[in-house]
Amino acid sequence: MAAPSGFLNLDLLALSPPGWGGVLLAGFAASLQLAVGGFGLGLLIGIGGAFGKLYGGPILRDLLEVYTTVIRAVPELVLILLLYYAGTDAVNSLLMLVGLPRVDISGLAAGIFVIGVVQGAYSTEVLRGAIKAVPPGQIEAARAYGMSPFKTLRRITLPAMLPYAIPGLSNLWLIATKDTALLAVVGFSELTLVTRQAAGSTKAYMLFYCAAGVMYLTLTLVSNRVIAHIEKRARRGIAGPV
């Protein structure tokens, strides 16, 4: 007689022990933190990268090209392993060379760094395309007014390129939320790993993996709604596709 660890034993999902729901939600919160942090860091790197590629010198442009090509050619799983183990090891070796004590890089910080670096390569391309789509006359007018480059960036370029960047960036956000699952392979306690632990302890594999799938799907659907709203507001005054 099979133990009641089958699919219908929803007690296992209860929020307080002996249900595993609380643990799953904590893992989901960790995944969200990772996704938000990684996406934000990726955006910052992307803005820097896009400007470097558009307005930088030849060496900077070539280096950025190498960066984006390598990140886009190597699987995220391998990049995560490289950056998580070798990256933190290299940072600590550098610090020891300089004479500073080794710093303890928390799992969350390492995970955000990893996802941020990967996202940065993709957002460089997205933002570069979006900035190129801004009518050049607006930027020339800003320069004619004597605005400093940073002021131009803040007041003209970034707001003007937003409607063109949103489809690409929204895609990157969805990719970020799903890439957090790969950190399960390095043992960081995000949703996929705690689901595997719960499933392994209770043997209710189907139930827990489906529950995690429902959580990810909810995140995707809510994100889609929010992004549609943001896009509608950002595209005020721009004619829609015919």
Partner: protein, 259 residues
Amino acid sequence: MKHILKTAFAAAALATTAFTGAMAEEVKVGVAAEPYPPFTSPDSSGKWIGWEIEFMDAICAEAKLDCVVTPVAWDGIIPALTSGKIDMIIGSMSITEERLKTIDFSDKYYNTPTGIIGAKGDDFDATPEGLSGKIIGVQVSTIHADYAEKYFGEGAAEIKQYQTQDEANQDLAAGRLDAVQADAIALDAFLKSDAGACCELKGNVQDDPAILGAGVGVGLRKGDTELKDKVNAAIKAIRENGTYETFSKNWFDFDIYGG
């Protein structure tokens, strides 16, 4: 009030213990993120429980260390130790020559033979001849993976390596594997559970100390002699004053320290 008490306790500890390491320092203890009942597994509130967790509490109390459980993926736990992410490994890691090249170990704190389990009704014994043509499951980065490759590699149909021992056991219950090789004590816990009702122990494999090691020890960085001495002293102390027996009785009805 709490602050005064803490300072008083620290001063007392400083005064009563030997020359170094009296103040409790935080020690990150790496455990495998994959559940390995009955030694380490997460319970439904997210806390880690198991025989090894109680062992860790006992030696940390004895050595006056502030131990923090830090789950790390099993196949990256040795790089995590050498790069400083964690300070000790308590994860049923056997002391082997190969591992001793990279890290150091404390004295052993338990020993387990290696067993092979298979489906009830499937008759074979735990020898290379008995396992020829079978599909064997082991966990990655373990002594069992090395042993199975060396002894059963030519004869077996396939040796599948799983990320966690749970998944290997699960696949045996599902019928995808013919045999699973792992620590006999952990396998015993699986066979006693509901999911293990399908299977039985076929026997223990022939010992090969070079691969299977000489017992389970606490993994430490090479050169970390201070911590190693503290841990060894703590292990000796809890064996002698009976703490080891007390908490082991909750989990096992025989002495797992081994010969």
